[in-house]
Subunit: 386 residues, 2 copies
């Protein structure tokens, strides 16, 4: 049998059937992008307010079923503000998966809080609620409406499930743990626009949820993000503190708290409106791509193409090859060969507890996350590939 | 004599000679904006990297004469990172004018530091270095390379001169105070792109300087900003921590510190490149507008049209009427009448020490800032009006 890297390359080639360089995920602008962006330039409305910002927020609320959507500069900004609105304060701890992009923990750090890393499960690639419950039972005291980490004495204020590569976390169980331990839930749905859990959009189950429209996401605004919530008071606060906390007045400049300049420019929102119109088609294409990869890799026994968890409908943001544990040592040769021939592939993120700034942070046992980090390879995933 | 509000309206009307609504400052897109933005959409390069980001940074460096320019999401982000790179840490104090936009102090707060408000001078509308020296002599101890506020015991780490409405602060004297009291200088040049002090561009005198390209600025990227510095090490650090602190690698995701997602999207940088090409023309137009207002108000003795300070060449970002102290009580009737008839005008910002979140912050005597805040009215100032 030829080596694994070669067989992975062959399987990818049988799906993509095109030469040259294939990015991991590139945007697709096949709709009204130019018309809407041109309108911004022609009217001069390119900046921090404008009709496309209002429309983008309305379109996001309609699409996700959230009562309110607040457009912001990017997904990190969305998560920073959502955590603050969920009550996270300096000196708190926040439960986050070790297997996630750096921004999940950065947003915690921006609040002056400490990430507390927990394990993931292979079934969803996301936070494992059973392991989490076991961990909290062992390390935390929950009473009088607050959860305290016994060893550090710090309040554990919130939990941030992240829907990895678009696949929904086991939200029912996560919400049950949060309820039992008095934790606020802020969903990091940066990767899961269009992904449903039991028929309902991810990011709408927690107190707040956040989206990202970075250039590598399913839809893009260049850079952008949004906060979702069903709570009108939180929505109002979110809009206020992401727009410099200026109190509306005909001419006075009065700000009633320290606010952020996290506004999404109208120019970027215009791109987002055009992209959202095409989202259903993008997701169909990405779901077809999964079927193609699954078929192509059926003859590669070392590799499982990751499938959406039961009860979920995933956007398949990034297609994921999961190597068997016995093939994990070949991950880097697969990455090298596929990138060498022009298929852009990448491993999972370095587990956040292994980054120097988080080395001293509290953490649960992370055996599954460690294993997944050794075995994940993302392969080209753009909408429109098949 | 008719009332002041009516005479101000008449003087403005004699300059602008156009009906309808005249915004305070609107962008002007008369160059390559379409071409560059369309190129981003056509090539798919809209997001956090791309040739327009590189070009915009190079164009900014060339135009300002700074050795390095780092494009970021907005002026607030630029100032936040510049302060951090200047050594501002939680528990420090930072000297900022009370008469400035809220972002100058927000950026200090984002570092966990406390703004320490100082007075402005009528000659420049900016920080008064003579009053500052007197204040520091009275309240601070400076020895062993550090300045300490005696009453609070906190280090006073930096000073942030802001070039109000585009008019350069008395930088020579500010730099002398900074040197004598061991303070880092971070110039908030958000309003002064194109303004020169003794022939050199504002924002290039301090350790770091910051620019803004918000929609109301002389040139706009929708939302955007930049950090200027002549120090190659600081420039490298600025780029690193504004782009999530990811260590470059072919496929690994490894971040070596808590970084920010403060990237300027390529889409917005494209707009900026086109705008910068037109900046010299914008400034000529804005300087002509000053001459027109100065002429029109020559017959209104209660009003001085603010002129660039000696030794400076200003971009005249916002044209400024300065009422005599005896006419300050009529400010609001002037604002109401001009806005009523469609000329958008506004007063100065509420002094920052009067905002609830900064009420307890240390401050110097602020007599001049208080007076200026009562007397300033900004009038329509867009490039292309005359």
């Amino acid at each position: 049998m030829t080596d694994l890297a070669e067989r992975v390359e062959t399987a990818i080639a049988s799906v993509l059937a095109r030469g040259g360089f294939t990015p991991l995920h590139e945007p697709r602008f096949a709709g009204n992008e130019w018309a809407y962006v041109k309108e911004c330039i022609d009217t001069g409305w390119v900046s921090s307010a404008g009709k496309f910002v209002d429309r983008f927020e309305q379109d996001l609320a309609t699409y996700t079923g959230a009562a309110h959507a607040i457009a912001v500069a990017n997904g990190t900004a969305a998560l920073h503000v959502a955590l603050q609105l969920a009550g996270v304060r300096a000196g708190d701890e926040v439960l986050v998966p070790a297997l996630t992009f750096a921004a999940t923990a950065s947003a915690v750090a921006f609040c002056g809080a400490t990430p507390h890393f927990v394990d993931s499960e292979e079934r969803t690639l996301g936070l494992d609620p059973i392991a989490l419950r076991r961990h909290l039972e062992a390390v935390a005291d929950s009473s009088k409406g607050a959860c305290v980490h016994r060893r550090t004495g710090r309040p554990i204020r919130a939990i941030v499930p992240m829907h990895t590569f678009g696949h929904p976390v086991a939200l029912d169980d996560v919400l049950a743990v949060a309820r039992d331990f008095d934790l606020a839930v802020v969903e990091d749905a940066a990767e899961s626009l269009g992904s449903l859990y039991r028929g309902r959009h991810t990011g709408t189950f927690g107190l707040l949820g956040t989206l990202s429209f970075n250039g590598n996401k399913t839809v893009t605004t260049g850079g952008g993000g949004a906060i979702l919530t069903n709570d009108p008071g939180l929505a109002k606060r979110a809009k206020h503190i992401t727009t410099t906390a200026k109190v509306p007045h005909r001419w006075e400049y009065f700000h009633d708290e320290v606010g952020y300049n996290y506004r999404l420019p109208n120019l970027n929102a215009a791109l987002g409106c055009a992209q959202l119109e095409q989202l259903p088609g993008f997701i169909e294409s990405k779901r077809r791509l999964y079927q193609c990869y699954a078929g192509a890799f059926a003859t590669v026994p070392e590799v499982t193409v990751f499938a959406e968890p039961e009860g979920s409908r995933s956007n398949y943001w990034l297609q994921t090859l999961l190597l068997g544990e016995e093939s994990a040592a070949e991950r880097d040769s697969v990455l090298a060969r596929t990138n060498d021939v022009g298929y852009m592939t990448r491993p999972a993120w370095t587990l956040l507890n292994r980054l120097p700034m988080y080395e001293g942070c509290p953490r649960a046992a992370l055996a599954v996350a460690e294993s997944l980090a050794r075995r994940i390879i993302n392969v080209p995933s753009s909408a429109g590939l098949v």
